[in-house]
C-alpha cells in the first residue's frame, strides 16, 4: 500500500528561531539520551557480571573524557526534562501565545544549564 503520509520538511528550509532550534534539539537530545540509557544498562550489567572489567570502566569514567561524558549527560537529561515539561504545559492548553512560547523556550535553554549545575552539585554532595 502506498504511504501518503506527509514527510517533515528538510531542515535546511527552516528559518532558524528559538522554537525550531528547541524542537530539533529535543529530538537529537532524545536520541542521545536513548543511547546513553543503553550504555548505562550495559554499564550496570558489566558491573554485576564482569567484575574484572570494572577497573577499565572506572578508569574511563574518572578520566577527563569520562567527566565530560557525565556532565554532558547531565545537560541532555536536564534539557529533556525541562522541554518535556514545556510540552506537557502545551498539552494542558497553556503557553501557545508566540511571546510566551519564546520566553518559555529561552527559560528551557538557559534553565537546562542551571539544572545541569544543580544536578552535578547535588550528586557530588558539594552543598
Amino acid at each position: 500500500m502506498e504511504n501518503n503520509n506527509p514527510l517533515s520538511p528538510h531542515l535546511q528550509i527552516y528559518k532558524w528561531q528559538i522554537s525550531s532550534l528547541l524542537s530539533i534539539t529535543h529530538r537529537i537530545v532524545g536520541v542521545i539520551n536513548f543511547l546513553a540509557i543503553i550504555l548505562i544498562c550495559v554499564w550496570s550489567i558489566l558491573i554485576v557480571f564482569f567484575q574484572n572489567n570494572y577497573s577499565t570502566i572506572n578508569v574511563f569514567l574518572n578520566s577527563s573524557f569520562g567527566k565530560f561524558f557525565i556532565i554532558s549527560l547531565c545537560w541532555t537529561f536536564s534539557f529533556h526534562i525541562l522541554n518535556e515539561l514545556r510540552h506537557l504545559v502545551w498539552d494542558a492548553g497553556y503557553g501557545f501565545d508566540l511571546k510566551v512560547a519564546k520566553i518559555t523556550g529561552i527559560i528551557v535553554f538557559v534553565g537546562s544549564f542551571i539544572l545541569t549545575i544543580l544536578f552535578y552539585i547535588l550528586g557530588r554532595n558539594l552543598f
Binding site: 532524545g30 544498562c41 570494572y54 572506572n58 557525565i70 526534562i81 510540552h87 552535578y120
Partner: protein
C-alpha cells in the same frame, strides 16, 4: 479509542512518570559513577534504588520506543526500512531493560 490517541496518551503518561525518575537517577548516577565496585553493587542491590532503577529503565525504553518511532515516521521514506527499524527498536526496548533488570535482581 484511536491507535494514535492511545499512543499520544501513553507518551504523555510515560513522560510524566519519567521526569522525576530521570532527576532521581541522574543525581544518584553522578554520586556513584566513580565509586568502587562494591559501593556501586550496594546501590543496585538495595531498596529503593533497585526498584526505582528498574522502573526508570522500563519507562525510559517504553517512552524512547514511542518517540523514536515518531522520528522514523517523519524521516524514513521507505516503508519496508521503516517497519524493520520499528521492529528492531521495539525488540531492543524489550531485551535491554529485561537483561538489565534480570542482572540486578540476580544480586543478593
Amino acid at each position: 479509542m484511536h491507535t494514535s490517541t492511545k499512543k499520544w496518551l501513553f507518551t504523555k503518561i510515560s513522560s510524566l512518570i519519567l521526569i522525576p525518575l530521570m532527576a532521581w537517577f541522574l543525581v544518584n548516577f553522578v554520586s556513584i559513577y566513580d565509586k568502587n565496585h562494591s559501593q556501586i553493587l550496594i546501590f543496585f542491590s538495595e531498596q529503593p534504588s533497585k526498584i526505582l532503577f528498574s522502573i526508570f529503565v522500563i519507562i525510559a525504553f517504553f517512552f524512547s520506543a514511542l518517540t523514536i518511532s515518531e522520528i522514523f515516521e517523519d524521516y524514513l521514506h521507505d516503508v519496508k526500512i521503516k517497519n524493520v527499524a520499528n521492529k528492531a527498536l521495539n525488540l531492543f526496548a524489550i531485551i535491554i531493560p529485561l537483561l538489565t533488570i534480570l542482572s540486578i535482581y540476580n544480586l543478593n
